[in-house]
Symmetry: C2
Subunit: 351 residues, 2 copies
């Protein structure tokens, strides 16, 4: 078996009994039943993922994968490709939004170059480059199928290394000029939703550019006809190295029983692809927030995930995921530390 096949074979449903036991524990705490709303649901899902009604606090990491996109030649972004490599350098010195937010939340940032045009890599960035960006998928497939597998397996190995190193919660982060175009193409191919309903303003293009971007995606899908029932085909033809890599991180984490925190549109498209590559993946996905990208909401609805935050963000990098990790810790602390009606001597009416 290949690593991808082995990983998919290891995926199992989350533990429903542990979730139910966690809810019973929460119902004994000194508060009206279910009065912490989504925070209680989150605690129960985490219990199901960790297969225990009393999980400890997680050791947290965010994997930020970067790559360039040939399709950015088509003028689909407000920023030039060179910004991808510049941002890698910014991640490496700790100046980007993800660095700031990760320091606040005690989250390790793991930066991976999956295939940028950077001439040299800053120290600390993991080098897993599959090329200097994908091919322009309006003309040829973004990558060959073998490279899609290679990217996914890189992601699986990175998740595996993190879990072996003691990390028990993994966020997905992305950087790549042009990658909302790839994410929209992937989402359209995997869901069947029309590109016009999925394509957004990305880093800040105007309405004319957005219509142009939509047509670019429509043209690519018409040319390559990716098979919506075959996520590998979709990732190869209209994907990105970082998106395929992140799908692998999601698969690898889920296979090891670790929650995967999904950030914005790009990481959601990777998570969606992961749910099509393997079974039982969705239970491990925690939707951190709802970004302003319309394709992100389409994926959340498709996967029936409820985002914890809705702050009209559209930055990526894993920023929304790391912000939501405060709420994840909070949910677990409630489950672990709150007094019960009995221990605190508070009258319980069962309400």
């Amino acid at each position: 078996m290949t690593l991808l096949e082995e990983t998919c074979a290891a995926l199992k449903p989350i533990d429903a009994a542990a979730s139910e036991n966690a809810q019973r524990l929460l119902d004994a705490k000194t508060k009206p039943r279910r009065s912490l709303g989504r925070l209680e649901e989150l605690a129960c899902r985490l219990a199901g993922i960790y297969r225990t009604s009393q999980p400890g606090l997680p050791q947290k990491a965010v994997v930020v994968m970067a790559a360039d996109h040939g399709v950015s030649e088509e003028g689909v972004s407000a920023y030039p490709s060179e910004v991808t490599a510049q941002m890698l350098a910014n991640f490496a010195v700790g100046g980007a939004a993800i660095n700031v937010l990760a320091r606040q939340a005690a989250v390790r940032v793991v930066v991976v170059d999956m295939g940028t045009k950077a001439s040299t890599l800053p120290s600390g960035v993991l080098d897993h480059r599959l090329g200097a960006g994908t091919a322009n998928f309006t003309r040829e497939p973004a990558m060959i199928r073998d490279d899609a597998v290679r990217a996914i397996e890189t992601g699986i190995r990175i998740a595996d290394d993190l879990v072996s190193g003691g990390f028990t919660l993994i966020g997905l982060g992305d950087m790549g000029i042009g990658n909302t175009t790839a994410a929209a193409a992937i989402t359209a191919a995997l869901t069947g939703i029309a590109p016009a309903r999925i394509t957004g303003h990305g880093t800040g293009i105007d309405e004319d550019r957005r219509l142009h971007k939509t047509r670019v995606i429509e043209r690519a899908l018409a040319r390559h006809r990716p098979d919506g029932g075959d996520a590998l085909d979709v990732l190869a033809k209209v994907g990105g190295f970082e998106i395929a890599g992140l799908a692998g991180v999601a698969l690898g984490a889920a296979a090891r029983g670790i929650p995967v925190v999904v950030d914005g549109f790009i990481t959601a498209s990777a998570a969606l692809a992961a749910t099509r590559l393997g079974t039982n993946v969705t239970g491990y996905l925690i939707a951190a927030h709802r970004s302003v990208e319309p394709g992100h909401s389409a994926i959340l609805e498709t996967l029936r995930l409820w985002p914890l935050l809705d702050l009209q963000m559209r930055l990526g990098e894993g920023t929304g995921g790391v912000l939501a990790m405060h709420l994840i810790d909070a949910a677990l602390l409630i489950l672990r530390d709150m007094a019960t009606f009995e221990s605190a001597g508070v009258t319980d009416t069962g309400s």
Copy 2:
């Protein structure tokens, strides 16, 4: 001048220039303009409140005021009055949800008995009791007007002491069996919205009890005819000791130029009253979350406040406020610590 009058005289608008300067600083950071959405708006408002475009991180406190409510005799809650005092004891030993979440967010919890039926107070709880609960406002006014002033001035003094002690961010928290009934009556009186549209399920009553609770509020408003243009009259006739006290905390903090983090329905009704007692208060209010209580949404709309979280919570105690403080810190860290396009050598297209 009375302390209340002095405090109201000290209220001034937040500093719009500092807000604008903060946005300029954010626009120079390595991210597409405004791509952190509401987090950027939050940073700018905090800059306006602190009157500097580069505020440091806040020292955080949450003031949890507790009181009992005579109206709970009418069967408006799923819990008996004795729970208020039991929860005071739980707060004192650190077992309640607010204690757990405040420890996580490094927030000092200040617990104040404004008038519960507790026979003895646990150590650490501040004693500012104005009585063993308010009167049942279906029969007589909840309190005399002088007691409403006393409660407000207690809140002002507590805020003042916290600010003098170095705290620079104050959350509002509440505990009091029956207090959603008082909050709904206050909200109806101050906004003119019908009680039926404001009255919710509180700690978990069923639909029949909710209709009964609505009628209790309608009866009280019909009997006392509180003057919606006079917040003191409203607080005295259908308020609660803790709600009046929290209105005072909001006024006191705003007068000292400190942000006030509003939690759920009860604290929002106090904040609403504060905006009617003084001018320029709304600029200092940060809506932490949207609870499931319909009256809470009515107040958020009235004050045009956008809540940071929407987790279907309905617990009170300041829990939503403390959860949102992670986002407040995050907003300030972004403003303080992120690299600029210039410092990081990232191409800025102005998008």
